[in-house]
Symmetry: C2
Subunit: 327 residues, 2 copies
Amino acid sequence: MATIYEVAKLAGVSPATVSRVFNGVAVSDEKVLAVREAARQLKFTPNRTARTLRKQESEVIALVIPDIENPYFTELARGVEDVAQSAGFSVVLANTDAQLEKEATYLQIAISEHMAGVILAAASDHTNLDDIQAAGRPVVAVDRGTGYDIDGVVMANRTAGQAATEHLVRAGYRRIACITGPERIETAYERAQGWRAVVTREFPGADPDELLRYSTFRVDGGRDVMEELLALPEPPDAVVAGNNLLGVGAIQVLTEHGLTPPKLGVAVVGSLPFTTLSPSAVTVVRLPARHMGVTAAKMLLERIAGDDQPARTVVLRGELQPARPAD
Amino acid sequence: MATIYEVAKLAGVSPATVSRVFNGVAVSDEKVLAVREAARQLKFTPNRTARTLRKQESEVIALVIPDIENPYFTELARGVEDVAQSAGFSVVLANTDAQLEKEATYLQIAISEHMAGVILAAASDHTNLDDIQAAGRPVVAVDRGTGYDIDGVVMANRTAGQAATEHLVRAGYRRIACITGPERIETAYERAQGWRAVVTREFPGADPDELLRYSTFRVDGGRDVMEELLALPEPPDAVVAGNNLLGVGAIQVLTEHGLTPPKLGVAVVGSLPFTTLSPSAVTVVRLPARHMGVTAAKMLLERIAGDDQPARTVVLRGELQPARPAD
DNA sequence: GTTGATCATGAAATCGATTTCGCCTAGAGT
DNA sequence: ACTCTAGGCGAAATCGATTTCATGATCAAC
């Protein structure tokens, strides 16, 4: 690749002038022309590494997520990418597999590559952001909090859990179970709390915890606990799934048992990805993942631009998409 | 962040020695100890930007894909990431939306960020790799060819199309349609060719093209053409879907028309992501996307390490997972 | 005891851009 | 006509690591 020096020589100016041309600093028209022509001839593209080293800041933002195979997070990624792209930033997608160690590695890389900022869906609430904060890099939390006082975008998880559960109650189900992610993950816990609030109110006598299962936020997790619930002496007649993949797993098991919804009622917090079920069968509280990504990216870009107002948290509400009563 | 100079001063050695300690070059034990201790105290992490500038090569590889929301590509990404990660590389995921322009942008970035190499699922067969080849960066093609003589990993697309179609024939279907992606995309075309070979052989009289539809490789594309096919005066009794998302779209439409498989036979080239259908309903030719990613990443790492044997192409075969006959 | 080889080490050059500093020139102000 | 200002421009410093080159020390071999 051509360097700024070669362009300078060909155009008969100093390297400084070439830099100025490409950075919109005042340069006489004739030199601008000469430089542009020389750059064109040599196919010059500025070396981003050198630029980053000198400016101490790159046009790359990191998006750190726990599960790249979950469509919820890829939808989020789309939102982030669209905003970033149109602001001239590129996005590095880092997949942590919900492992703190991998997460820490990627955060270190974000620092040592001088990335402009980080959007983080934390692997757990023990994520350590001291270093990246010390480095002065802005971080925006998505989907889950971090325990730090930073910008964030989260879903109204408890409300979503409530809405899903209430809809099942209205549809006439009486014994409503809940399967959700690991208890230590805020989103999992909050959605379960939403469910609990409704069932304890509606069915005061019963012990709700009998029908509550914490698992992983994955398809096989949903399968396992759904099997467990069906094996109960007195199985549930409906279930609230704490995220999209749990919902898929649960429905798979139900289908295998001949209990296709709405025979056994199912409500999912999050969308059913690529579902081939009739939309009337399953209630869904759609979470605006893409919108979350867009919002987070905009907040991050503001911080990168130097905004230093107090930390904000944006809460997005899910949207109930009820199963139509079977006809 | 602390720099190598500060560490050097604290440890009482030269910066060169600090660098050597971190790069495994011979240094006396006592200095190694002093440097490590100083680095620990100062929380020193080498600045990757400076390192990249000097070494003219970074430990980042780019994975350029046309659709990040397609689970096929995220599965591929997982494979790439696993291999890269364990070799100390990080992966930048770039989503092109199948647009040549975005693709070109990302390839330029790969060059100007000195990325070590690129794994590319090309947006089309017009992708221009001249610049990146001139820059000496290795490129491995995945899923689709590029028209350049470079390493590649592809699926046995025609074979997969055949296998899917043959299975429908064996199951007794007689009027087998095919829906696939854009004709100019190699994978779409080849899978359709596989279908065509079988139907012209098995049903010699009929005009196969009547039942062939090119569309996009997306869910809505599958929906549209499936509707078209059902609206024919003499609709098909089975359909081969050219990729996973087309399959989802087709099945959605069939479900809405009360034609849930296997009432109308469906065979999909690629897996049905997050399906809740009974596995007996739909035949799938599973494509080893993750394995493709692993293979491509290994090939790329070999090239990065300096391997310059002639270009290789690895062809991976899909695996037929037949629908069990309904019982 | 001398020679030569080996090895640890530091000084300084290097990667390619940005940016500070100061010079020079042209035009405005009096 | 003379001073002052401002803007264009180049020389050189800078970002932080790696790497070449030169030096000095150590040690084995003869």
